[in-house]
Symmetry: C2
Subunit: 331 residues, 2 copies
Amino acid sequence: MKATIKDIAKRTNLSVATVSRILNNKTGFYSEKSAVKVHQAAKDLGYQKNTNAVELVTQSSKVVAVIISSAKTNFADQIIDGIQEVALSKGLNVIFLYAGEDDADIQYKALVTAIERSVMGIVMVAVELNGHNLDYLQQSQIPYIMLSTPHSPKGSVYITTDNYQLGYRATEFLIEKGHEKIALVGNDLSDIGTDRLRGYKDALEQHNLSFNPDFIVTGNFTYEDGVLAVNQLCQAKPQVTALIGGSDMTAIGMINQARDLGLAVPDNLSVMSLDGTKLTKIYRPSITSTVQPFNEIGKRGMQQLISEKSGPHQSQLMTFNIYEGESTRKI
Amino acid sequence: MKATIKDIAKRTNLSVATVSRILNNKTGFYSEKSAVKVHQAAKDLGYQKNTNAVELVTQSSKVVAVIISSAKTNFADQIIDGIQEVALSKGLNVIFLYAGEDDADIQYKALVTAIERSVMGIVMVAVELNGHNLDYLQQSQIPYIMLSTPHSPKGSVYITTDNYQLGYRATEFLIEKGHEKIALVGNDLSDIGTDRLRGYKDALEQHNLSFNPDFIVTGNFTYEDGVLAVNQLCQAKPQVTALIGGSDMTAIGMINQARDLGLAVPDNLSVMSLDGTKLTKIYRPSITSTVQPFNEIGKRGMQQLISEKSGPHQSQLMTFNIYEGESTRKI
DNA sequence: CTGAAAGCGCTTACAG
DNA sequence: CTGAAAGCGCTTACAG
């Protein structure tokens, strides 16, 4: 049987009210003598606060729920770290829930778990909510924010790397290296993919290069997408001289498959990625990449979510750097 | 203001008791007519159950907390997936908490969060609890289990890959390829590292090879450990012909550094890893590795934790396969 | 400085 | 089939 403040009260001949005050350090509302007794009793009894009761009566919670899409979470670690850093410094607790990839039911379950606990806020990481689940989330009245979100739903605040710029600058980087036939691979049809494609197109146009739709191979940011795209684009006669992968995994899939086809990177083919997690640094050849500020996204997301001045928050598009690895070359 | 069952009761002219029964499908305790009214009202009001209240009154919880060490979690994904699979099929909720690497304070905070919520069970993934925190956990009376645990504390149930066998079989694999000078790199001084070392030594002895303490370079399963070890072991004149890394990251660090020193893998040096996550498959050369059954560890851990027949559970040592990649060769 | 009391939202014997 | 009542563990005005 777990000890309660009632047990402590009995043991110390104080009221539960006083015990409660002491345990919560409501300084000025108790004598030092009582405090000593209470703390001793609490220790003796192995007292554990019951958070359910506390939250029930105070109608508030000190926990933030983070819902993470389980699949394309190559970069989730960094976002998680950023979130944790902020939570730690603010004395908040964070619980993480995994929502399967695009599985509306599992997503819903994760939302229910968070919402029924009346968490103080919800962070969605890389998850795409369908209409029903979004309604449910909004109707819960719980503040939320979306990080690296595939779509930018109206009325939701989100923070994500500027996908248009990701596409634009990666393409421009390659153009400046002399490439003219550049493929864009593995991006999906969400805002992420389409924004990147717009950037890609604009960069070409800006540099007076023509757009060839055959060089666009959509996908889902997977390793397999990279493999298939290389087969498709480089099998017969390599038509392209450079490839941009939608994720690090896609880029690695491309490089591996190119190698299997007898094409060397970067000698025969230059490859870039649009994520830039540590995978790009430990792989060989190291992979030239736009480096998304995932850690910073996590930090800002958390800060923004919990900042009290709830003047309507602004969505943010983050900037980024480009890391030049060994996977690209001048031609 | 969030709607409560009281609001529903008022609106439907029923008592909260009846509303509660209907919402919980206590079949037989209410009329269909009332049920319809209640469900309609709940919907109209956007009713959300308050889990805090439910858990407070029922003194029970349907959530399992998983506490994960944040650092060496190259393999945590697979364990998490395994845990989720089981949770989903049993209708349980799982919340994840990250405990910093060997940071007793953060660990403690994670424990507090879980324990004060009276979760139904706690799974520890790759975390090393210090004495104080272990006491705290045990005293909470909440069932727990440790997965891939560095140490095997007395009185705790744990599931981990058989580290002795990991060391033994990897070493034997290399011996059978003709290697006699084999280094063991990046393992720590916990049970994990020492068990592996025992296996390594026994394999040598079994095959009449002498043990050279210079070939043991301890560490913390990091990429850097691999880099440093290769510098130390291969810089002057390569004394070893094969290296076993304590983790995939260590193995990759070794391969990269060997390459930087002008040593080709596997031509000049064979390299193995003792984890075997997907990293070993996507890296080039693909890395020969013992493949720990992380997913299965997650599944079993969860199953065992929640299985009611609480006859004292047994700790388990899991077996594994060896994946032969391109990073090793016969000499 | 302390206590009695109300109440957070819910469940569940008990009585009808 | 339904309701009144007690109670889960805690906090906090209110009164002293």
